[in-house]
Symmetry: none
Subunit: 204 residues, 4 copies
Amino acid sequence: MCIRLEKEIAMSLRKKKTMKKRREMLRSAAKVVSQKGYDRATMDDIASELLMTKGALYYYFDCKEELIYQCHELILSEALKVMEEIVLMDLSPVEKLEKAIITHIGFAINEKDILNLILKPEQTFEEDHLRLILEKRQQYDSIFDRIIMEGLNKGVFTSSEPKLVRMMILGAMNWIQTWYSPHGKQSPEVIAKIYAESLLKLLL
Amino acid sequence: MCIRLEKEIAMSLRKKKTMKKRREMLRSAAKVVSQKGYDRATMDDIASELLMTKGALYYYFDCKEELIYQCHELILSEALKVMEEIVLMDLSPVEKLEKAIITHIGFAINEKDILNLILKPEQTFEEDHLRLILEKRQQYDSIFDRIIMEGLNKGVFTSSEPKLVRMMILGAMNWIQTWYSPHGKQSPEVIAKIYAESLLKLLL
Amino acid sequence: MCIRLEKEIAMSLRKKKTMKKRREMLRSAAKVVSQKGYDRATMDDIASELLMTKGALYYYFDCKEELIYQCHELILSEALKVMEEIVLMDLSPVEKLEKAIITHIGFAINEKDILNLILKPEQTFEEDHLRLILEKRQQYDSIFDRIIMEGLNKGVFTSSEPKLVRMMILGAMNWIQTWYSPHGKQSPEVIAKIYAESLLKLLL
Amino acid sequence: MCIRLEKEIAMSLRKKKTMKKRREMLRSAAKVVSQKGYDRATMDDIASELLMTKGALYYYFDCKEELIYQCHELILSEALKVMEEIVLMDLSPVEKLEKAIITHIGFAINEKDILNLILKPEQTFEEDHLRLILEKRQQYDSIFDRIIMEGLNKGVFTSSEPKLVRMMILGAMNWIQTWYSPHGKQSPEVIAKIYAESLLKLLL
DNA sequence: CATGAATGAGGGTTCATTCAT
DNA sequence: GATGAATGAACCCTCATTCAT
């Protein structure tokens, strides 16, 4: 019994370790891929960023696409969870949208490496992975829709085209990746604030 | 003399033909590349879209990068010219910005194939081409800055962060490529109108 | 009759012109090929050295190999003719060999562009051309053999291995191409003299 | 500790194996290239001579030029080492030069495949490799200069142009590659002896 | 689990050659 | 005779993937 317990604990420890390792690998992979682009980042690049050999990577992931898909999955799920918490908070729609915008921009900047991957999944993924990714993106986007609808229903937002406005907001935010540099004069937090304040005008 | 003249005319005719052909090739190349992505679109793909052989492509362009660079150059120059005309028109800043937004969205949708290429040039182009592209993009962006500044000076626009607002506007517009489909319910023109109207709010 | 005559003269003039042109082309081709090597010199390189287009070259020569073969043929025939004159001169074997060495070195240096081509014809020419070239080289080499034999018969030369000595002499001379530079301190004539004097020792 | 030791031994064994393989590859590559010439020998040719695939070659060498450069490096270094031993032997200059000539001809004939590559490195190698090769050749040549100078100083050799004589000797020897065939009537050793004996006359 | 080695299917590029005009 | 354009066969090189050890 005691031995069994130890084993179980050991297992769960090992599993945790493995999970942690996988996550590390995903982060590193995402970093390389977001810098070079999917097609230009080779498995060797990714492996050496991890101080591993290519062969080892294939122990953890079946193929390149799978590896990168897992990256998406990881970060999108994380982001989605945070966003869903925001929706359920006891806040006004205005406050929720502000929070959502600030949070999203935080991801876009801090997790630039990973979120970067999201542009044009059609050019990267095959059927199966693609469907899953598009679904999750859909879920993510709908978070914003829900907040906006809530605001419209409560009469604090105004818009005849809420879907288009949601896309304007997302587009404006995602574009930040394009020009943001940590050496710029404004901190990510300041940028996020300004964006939140400004973009809210689209709904007033 | 007469013969000489004929020759010259013939020359200029041939040159015109060649120019026209080059332009056609650029359009087709842009189409393929915008669909598959730079790295996945092979020179064979591009050539067969043109009902040509790969070798023929290399008669006109030194290498793949050069070919795609010329695509950028072509469309960016065109767009820039149109935008510069707008700046010089005898219109109010509000009207100018509306026109600029509508025009830009027109490009983003109709020339999707080409403008699409603009995302992340760093991952595609080497030093020299990259610098030229970034310069031209800069010029393009500054058109919007000029209109915005004009509005601020005349007191019709208000913003403490005009640069960030300009980037929100561009981001919102460029994102359209991401989701626009000709089968959607709204026509490009309607979309453009709605965007123009909404985005102006960011400056009021 | 008179017209006919004119025509004939004209013909012969044209032919001469054509011949001259061919020779010019061969010289230029040889120059390019000797600098870059057969495989690295493209037909475009050769054509542009001649201020022509590639197509024009093909009017005069069937293919690249043919063109280069003609180069060999031209220079080898020339050299052979000069050498044969030397053999027939009314000179002592020593004087003949001196003259032959000096003449050969003159070719090796001044016609470097063309003689250069002679190394390793096996790697360049197909069956037919190769046989013709090897034959002519054989003829050329045998000139030296004849002079040496004459010297041996007259008792002014001594060697138990005349063939090997002939090859030493040719090797020593042809190697000059490898290091000769017009900017060196010794003139071609001086070099030739020294070589003639020294190499004769091999037969004394 | 024991495990560690085993590992280290294994490492060194594997490394040795790898080194040996590399050397084999260089020999085969040299063979193919010396037969077909650098530009005509394809990587496929070289690979199939080794019963390998092209890809495997690229696992060991960065590019074709590097592969062939390593061939040069290998054989030149070997030859240079042997020659340097000769210079340092306790022999008379005449005996040293004889030995050097015989040794060089041994290389020229037996390692024909590799030494063959030395003609015209300018047409094959880029800047960096070229410089290294020319340097090493220089070193090699200077071995002969040193022996000759020693002989001149001791009064056993006579020459007003020792540099030119050195080049005659090298040229005569290297030319052997051009005509030597294992089916000829004279053995390499006999040829080497005759050359040594004859070429010494140039310095007496 | 991990590594070094190898494979094989392309992809970009070059170039001799051809041909309509 | 000459030109611009086009072809197609190779060639060098890359890289995701596999596998014996």
